[in-house]
């Protein structure tokens, strides 16, 4: 088994009466890109901030690079990088000055040119921070997180607010971090982002981890495919397929045997003389799995 960079056992955090984190276990290995997913208020940020040393924990064991982050040790901070959601950088300094200032805090910083190359800010190196676009500022945040050549990088929602092109650019950047051998703990709202980037994904709901696997594994652990279609109002739908109403007036069914179930469905439709509009059969996306795990009660079973 590879070396664990982050190891968490029975982590709990209480705020007054609220259990924000209810005893989670995590193991993240060297060189992994690990995504922590979950709806707002699931406890992701609390968990990550405990790992970063920004917050204390109520119970449990936490080990980050062999340290307890709760003890606020410089030796740990020298080996990890944190990319927060908010910039908090001096607007009147240039890009290279900003990176250089942070490089100065670390014993073995990454060379300036290498940092700028990884985040793709070589052309903006002499530009003032305030003149950067939103996407460029976010890249600078990552650059600052990388300045000390960390073994472990925390990325908190790195592409929130990006346009699609900027997101693809950021994804390429995160992939290049993996090539540098960095371990990355990514939190994100975007499931396609986790699917595209992460080696493993944990889904957190109400303070607990409800699923943890590779993106492909999470999808495969669920039914293999989903059938979606529209039917006329009031049509008596066939039994036994687990049909339920989904968004936008669609009816859907998850199936492990799409060939047989599709045959049942189309035979029924032909017999009734009903046209199944917008009929599709698709593999589950991580989003489908996520929605099922985080929102069990939604979507009424109609037959």
């Amino acid at each position: 088994m590879a070396e664990a960079v982050i190891e968490v056992r029975g982590l709990r955090k209480r705020y007054g009466d609220l259990d924000a984190v209810r005893g989670i276990d995590l193991r993240i290995e060297r060189g992994e890109v690990f995504a922590l997913l979950g709806p707002n208020g699931a406890g992701k940020t609390t968990t990550v901030e405990i790992l970063e040393g920004h917050r204390s924990r109520s119970a449990g064991e936490v080990n980050v690079l062999g340290f307890d982050p709760g003890r606020n040790e410089v030796a740990l901070k020298e080996r990890m990088g944190i990319v927060l959601q908010h910039t908090g950088l001096e607007p009147y300094l240039t890009v290279s000055e900003t990176v250089d200032m942070f490089r100065g805090f670390y014993p073995r910083p990454l060379p300036l040119d290498e940092v700028l190359e990884v985040v793709g800010l070589e052309e903006q190196r002499d530009q003032r921070v305030r003149r950067l676009s939103g996407g460029q500022q976010r890249r600078l945040d990552v650059a600052v997180g990388l300045a000390g050549d960390p073994e472990l990088l925390f990325l908190d929602e790195p592409t929130t607010g990006f346009d699609p092109t900027a997101r693809r650019g950021a994804w390429a950047m995160i992939r290049s971090l993996r090539e540098l051998g960095k371990t990355v703990l990514l939190t994100t709202h975007y499931l396609d982002e986790a699917q595209a980037l992460a080696d493993r994904v944990a889904i957190m709901v109400r303070g607990e981890i409800v699923a943890e696997d590779t993106p492909a594994g999470l999808v495969a652990a669920d039914a293999d495919a989903v059938i979606r279609f529209r039917a006329p109002q009031g049509a008596a739908l066939p039994d036994g397929l687990g049909l339920r109403e989904a968004d936008e007036g669609l009816i859907e069914a998850r199936t492990i045997d799409p060939t047989r179930d599709l045959n049942t469905l189309t035979s029924w439709a032909l017999g009734e003389g009903i046209e199944l509009e917008d009929l599709t059969v698709s593999r589950l996306s991580l989003e489908d799995v996520f929605l099922r795990l985080t929102d069990e009660g939604d979507g009424e079973v109609v037959s």
């Binding site: 901070k77 908010h86 908090g88 009147y92 942070f102 805090f105």
Partner: protein, 258 residues
């Protein structure tokens, strides 16, 4: 040595950022001089009776504006920048880096001190050149001690008030409302024989601004024959500094409060 290097690094980049914002830099520097000129134009022509001595209005205003400069550079600017850094996530970012918090803090304070000393030299030079105000000689040690005690106390109170300010939007209002009235009732803007009621002076004697301005008045008084030390005033200022420090240590935070 590593510590000194980290603090110098902070000062270097702070100073660079300060210079890059010329509008802010210009008015920070011009601010005390603007007050000096305006107040001298309005009140400077009258001689003032300070106890049994008569001094010119201009001689009164140099130490008064020096007090304003200390208050402004330490209390106001530290409180504002601390709240803005806190809400902008700068402090949180520092906490996540290996830069020790005290090194960051020390860098901020040192930058404020350098700016304050430059402004004080400018004010005294301005008074000497244009208003015939003597530069303190034998009272210089007393002036420097007052400066040091005042800088400590008003920095500490700046951090303390920052801890009381809920967010960056409220910072200018809270900070100004807490200090401007004191500047008016503490013989900084308005000279002591302008008819200020006695009870107002009693009220302001509780607060540190009056003690700072009076200690500096003694230091700049051309008729002062002693060393010019004012232990009572210095004691009150220092006591406020200690209160500020305790409040800071108890309530200050590094996290945005939004």
């Amino acid at each position: 040595m590593k510590a000194a290097r980290l603090v110098l690094l902070q000062i270097k980049y702070q100073e660079r950022a300060f210079r890059r914002n010329p509008a802010a830099a210009f008015f920070t520097i011009a601010f005390p001089l603007i007050f000096l000129v305006i107040l001298n134009v309005i009140f400077g022509g009258n001689d003032l009776n300070l106890g049994d001595r008569v001094i010119s209005g201009a001689t009164f205003y140099i130490p008064a504006i020096a007090a304003l400069t200390i208050v402004n550079s330490c209390y106001t600017s530290i409180a504002m920048s601390w709240v803005f850094d806190r809400d902008g996530g700068v402090l949180k970012r520092v906490r996540g880096s290996p830069l020790p918090p005290w090194a960051f803090l020390f860098g901020r304070i040192a930058h404020a001190m350098i700016l304050m000393l430059a402004l004080l030299v400018l004010v005294v030079l301005f008074g000497w050149l244009f208003y015939d105000v003597d530069v303190p000689g034998q009272t210089m040690p007393a002036v420097l001690v007052t400066l040091a005690v005042g800088a400590f106390a008003f920095c500490a109170m700046g951090f303390a008030i920052a801890a009381m300010v809920p967010n960056a939007d409220a910072a200018p209002a809270v900070v100004n409302a807490s200090i401007l009235p004191l500047l008016f009732i503490s013989d900084v803007f308005i000279p002591p024989d302008a008819g200020t009621p006695a009870w107002v002076e009693h009220v302001s004697s509780v607060f540190p601004v009056r003690h700072l301005s009076e200690a500096l008045q003694t230091g700049f008084n051309p008729f002062e024959t002693g060393a010019g030390f004012e232990p009572v005033h210095l004691g009150v200022i220092a006591a406020w500094g200690v209160v500020g420090l305790l409040v800071t240590l108890r309530f200050s935070s590094w996290e945005p409060r939004v």
